[in-house]
């Protein structure tokens, strides 16, 4: 099987890329990237494998952190939470797990499975179930396409493991997991029902770790060459620059556990005189100009510092920041009728239908795969 053996510098690139794919949310990748690098420093390996290289009957476990980011920066993970989830799962299904992967590539969760994989010597699949960040578990391409809600496992640092052996819907599963996480002190690791290699090949968003790496690499190269990192990202992703300007207004409030608000960006330079509004619910959801919708969920609205290309999260937004608002077409797996019921505008409470923008992205695996056998 062909692997991509990650180095520390790869983690740095991926951390930057998953920040961009976080579309304003997804949690800060910093601690996750430190944990991944700590694994490499201890001599362990993080090996990526392409979904196409998975055996059709391979057993794949999607893993990630769940909880409040504000708590996660204080009660940092023990490191074996994912291992406990995986072992519980193996006992439940009566066979070995062959590979792990991320439910969500956006933010720190795009990196989280690497820690468990390194500890157990398992490969990580270069794919995920969102191609970006979304707030809830039912919003993965896996659940959208029929992944079983059970068994699902939740583990904390202290050794508690919760198993859901039956859930009536992915939405109900989300509620049960959230309640369990609160009982565990608001940080936990979750693993959803193991999937076959064939299922992951069909319904996983392919090569999103590679995509993150390329995004990070593109930004770092542009910085080194002192060229425009935002333009480089757009060229890389085939996205569109919606507006370049500065933040002139930010309204935020917490509603039902989510950060909701609206951001207003006033154009500068060639965009002078134009005004863009972006709706926020943890992530950037809808971008409008004079009432006309320019981009909407599930397409990716990313906001980057115009000068450095650093992704700017919803919490960091404030008046005066010089930002570029870009739209990246969502992967085709998020654009199906079935998917839009879970991740389209109506799923987020809007009364309009999804109008796609641009051709769906298809990320290529990085060249590093070709170098190692």
């Amino acid at each position: 099987m062909t692997f991509w053996n990650l180095k520390e510098t790869d983690i740095d690139r991926i951390a930057l890329g998953v920040g961009i794919l976080g579309t304003g949310g997804g949690g800060n990748p910093y601690l996750a990237s430190l944990m991944a690098k700590a694994q490499l420093l201890q001599g362990r390996e993080i090996k990526m494998v392409r979904p196409a290289d998975l055996a059709p009957d391979a057993m794949v476990l999607a893993l990630g952190g769940i909880g409040a980011p504000t708590v996660g920066i204080e009660k940092i993970e023990e490191g074996d939470e994912g291992v406990r989830v995986l072992h519980a799962m193996e006992r439940l299904i009566g066979r070995r797990i062959d590979a792990v992967m991320a439910d969500e590539i956006g933010g720190g969760n795009g990196i989280a499975p690497m820690i468990t994989a390194a500890k157990l010597g398992l490969p990580v699949v270069d794919a995920d179930g969102m191609g970006r960040a979304f707030p809830e578990v039912q919003m993965t391409t896996f659940f959208i396409n029929g992944q079983s809600t059970a068994p699902t496992a939740l583990a904390d640092a202290s050794g508690n493991v919760v198993i859901v052996s039956q859930a009536t819907s992915p939405e109900m599963l989300e509620k049960l997991m959230r309640a369990g996480t609160v009982a565990m002190g608001c940080t936990a690791h979750m693993g959803t029902a193991p999937m076959s290699g064939d299922f992951v090949r069909r319904f996983g968003v392919p090569h999103t770790v590679s995509q993150s790496w390329r995004l990070g690499d593109t930004v770092l190269n542009a910085r080194a060459k002192k060229t425009n990192p935002v333009a480089a990202v757009l060229e890389q992703e085939g996205g569109a620059l919606l507006l370049q300007g500065k933040v002139v207004d930010i309204g935020r409030k917490i509603e039902g556990g989510f950060v909701r608000g609206r951001l207003t960006v006033a154009g500068l330079g060639t965009f002078s005189g134009r005004l863009l509004e972006v709706d926020i619910q943890n992530e950037y959801l809808v971008a409008r100009e004079e009432g006309k919708i320019l981009s909407m969920v599930p397409d990716l609205i990313c906001i980057m510092d115009s000068e450095t290309g650093r992704p700017v999260s919803t919490e960091e937004q404030r008046y005066g920041l010089r930002v570029s608002v870009i739209a990246i077409p969502s992967p085709s797996l998020l654009r199906t009728e079935l998917a839009l019921a879970s991740v389209g505008p109506r799923a987020f409470g809007y009364d309009f239908d999804f109008v796609p923008r641009g051709q769906p992205t298809v990320a290529r695996p990085v060249e590093a795969y070709g170098l190692q056998k």
């Binding site: 601690l31 430190l34 944990m35 700590a38 909880g67 409040a68 980011p69 504000t70 708590v71 920066i73 204080e74 009660k75 940092i76 993970e77 023990e78 490191g79 820690i115 640092a157 202290s158 050794g159 959230r178 609160v182 002190g185 608001c186 500065k246 002139v248 207004d249 917490i254 556990g257 989510f258 950060v259 943890n282 919490e315 960091e316 404030r318 008046y319 005066g320 920041l321 010089r322």
Partner: protein, 517 residues
Amino acid sequence: MTKQLRIGVDVGGTNTDAALLQGEEVLSTIKTATTANVTDGVSSAIRAVLLAASVASDRVGAVMIGTTHFLNALVERRHLQRTGILRLCGPATRALPPMIDWPEDLRLVVDGGAALVGGGVNYDGSSIAPLDTDAIRLACRDWRERGIGAIAICSVFALVDPRMEIAAAEIVAEEVPDVSVSLSHRIGKTGLLQRESATILNASLHRIGHETVAAFRHAFGELGLSCPLYLTQNDGTLMSAEYAERFPVFTMASGPTNSMRGAAFLTGLKDAVVIDIGGTTTDIGMLVSGFPRSRGEGATVAGVRTNFRVPDVFSFGLGGGSRVRDGDDLRIGPDSVGFRLPEKALCFGGDELTATDIAVAAGLVDLGDKTRLKHLDRAVVKAALNKMKRDVEAVVDQMKPGPDPIPAILVGGGSVLIDGFLEGTSVSLRPEHFGSANAIGAAIAQVSGEVDNIVSLEGQSRQSAVEGVIAEARRRAVEAGAAEDTVVLAEIDETPLSYLPGNAMRIAAKVVGDLNS
């Protein structure tokens, strides 16, 4: 504020400034060169500022010093104490051991070994694991044998419940009686790794903190001063010398803060943008209710990520010593002739075109020999002035809280580079004594207390939770030297936590009061 005499001193990289104040009146200001031995420079600045006003040293009621001395010790990796680290965490947090994101060379100097032991609480105050006293004693014995002189203790969610850190400190004191101990709940805010790093930095600076304060006291004796000594901290407020010995790490970002507080005092403005232009850099920050706005993310100190609240200051390479290059593309800075301005600038007989030469040629300031600038093209002078102003305006706009024009205060010796009104501001002021705003800011500083905590609302009302946080902030202000009856609430911030049910809140409070004198 009483009418007693106070001396403010700001020790910068190049200059040590001092100001003598009586009540709100500035009696004298002085600028001297910073010396290798910080205490000598401070002594001579104090002597000079007293001499300039013909005031006897026994009339001085308080001296306030802002210094980058401890920061320099970290940056240069000098005089640091090897520190033992005790993390109270139970099974949690082990994915990231202490100092994992430190620069390797600094870690090698400071790292005295870490023990991760039973303890710590969850966000709601429930225990992660009981305090493992045996493991603490075991670690202490190892540190004692190896002669470790400083210990940092950091418990998970120590800000929710600090009792385990306090209990651990008592055990440490029994086992290693002469060691200095730093507790994380007194140092930083939520964010374990950064708070722990800040606590380790503080512990490693303990000895130099002690020595420096002792040296200042000795110098005071020689100067005939018998008044209390205070140091200014990151937020522009004061701490007593005794407090500074225990918390040297709080002095890290006092420089820009002192300038901003001085600017507020000199103009009477409480909400404004402050532009502090020195010899090498320009620092631009916002005054909100008379205090510098702090930055959302924490400060990186000597390459170490911490989560101190430091002023939200944007610094860039523009100052009186900035090199000016005329060509197709006019460039000013970011490189500078620095402290060699008096020999390098054209107007002083040197051979480098500097920002100061531009200001002199434009008639903004009268320095050196103007005739040496006759050859300068008027268009170049005008373009350079415009460029400096535009660069400052762009940053001012980025720092402003909203689109409305706000007042701008220009301070620092280099502020003469800016000619006239700044776009986006309502008024541009350059007050009297603008060159010594930093020392004046130190002299007029108040005392603060600050708490930033996650509070569970199980079993208590929001009101009582907020009151509890404010009471703790008041307690800290009084401990740091504030007169109890003058302490008022300066900032309160309540944030419900996302992804949590409605029973947890982050509450941050800051109080300020006048010096207890």
